[in-house]
Symmetry: C2
Subunit: 202 residues, 2 copies
């Protein structure tokens, strides 16, 4: 595609590098910014520059943070006996939005994936073991909240093997039929698991 | 949604102001930029800032341009006897990409729309009439390439009434069944028009 403007071409090429955004969408966004007043562009670029320059990773949980220690790890209201292990920082946000978890997190930064050559050493696993084995540790239960995929299950299995030597309860988030979904359209494996892991009415 | 980081929250809010991008996509893009190296963010923001600061509108055709006069209007290779009237600059790019048009353009900057209170005065219509009526004008044909909507047709009708006093041929882009599409799925109006405006085999 030709743009007849080097400025637009440069902007479109940069925008189209973002995941899930093609050249047509990039052009639409660039033309939108041209139409809007200057503040729209400048406050967008300013917030992105600030994000990239100032964002840190929490020294405790390795999640995304504005400071050395993230808001969750530094909060006095969180239950430090409950630790939830997740893959990425967006999983932390997803779980936080459920308002069902009051413990703290540990962000692995990925999952074990031989195809992408990500082994245990590439993940924040040794730091997790440090958090568990330290004398001040208050951890009583570790919840493994990884993706229900082959890689997620492999990582959960690996972590379970490493963690079982500690006097800690290890659990995994439940799998089953999603709330509001239709039984008819559930895949066999999920439906099968939801039957074997059925819960009793209380 | 809570983000537990003011930096991410600010970035997500800004990204989500872009058309067609919601908060979830905005978060995905922000997290992508955090993961990538610094150059990804800085070259993106730099290209957007440069775009917004330096882009101009061509003094002749009112299309987007890097300079006072755009590449097309300043090119010696274009046929100045053929003028194509379009709604926006992206229509210019779309037509340029067909490689079927060697004339010049006139960008109206919108179409007549009583609902959005856009009348002829809000559009670059008087400047179009100036281009046609000036003594140096080489224009022999004007092609109206507006959207096949009620507003597009209204604008075409208005332009036709204004332009018919000049000794110029006025045409409109053809409407009909899209190339590669299926007759079965064409709407009745399009199919009807494609029959009444049928073209003879030559």
């Amino acid at each position: 595609m030709e743009y007849h403007s080097k400025l637009i071409e440069a902007a479109v090429n940069e925008i189209a590098k973002l995941p899930g955004i093609g050249k047509k969408t990039a052009l639409r966004l660039a033309l939108h910014l041209i139409k809007e007043n200057e503040n729209t562009t400048f406050s967008l670029t300013d917030s992105l520059n600030k994000l990239k320059s100032n964002i840190q990773f929490c020294k405790v949980c390795h999640g995304i943070s504005d400071d050395e220690i993230c808001m969750i790890c530094s909060s006095s209201k969180r239950d430090r006996s409950l630790l939830c292990v997740v893959e990425e920082s967006n999983d932390v946000m997803a779980i936080e939005n459920t308002s069902q978890f009051s413990g703290v997190y540990h962000v692995l930064g990925g999952i074990i994936s031989p195809i992408k050559s990500i082994g245990p050493a590439e993940l924040k696993i040794s730091s997790l073991l440090d958090r568990v084995s330290t004398q001040e540790s208050e951890i009583k239960e570790i919840i493994l909240a990884l993706s229900p995929t082959l890689e997620g299950d492999t990582t959960s299995f690996y972590l379970h093997r490493k963690l079982k030597e500690f006097p800690i309860k290890i659990s995994s988030i439940s799998r089953g039929i999603a709330v509001g979904s239709d039984l008819e359209y559930a895949d066999e494996i999920t439906l099968g698991r939801s039957i074997t892991a059925r819960t009793e009415f209380k």
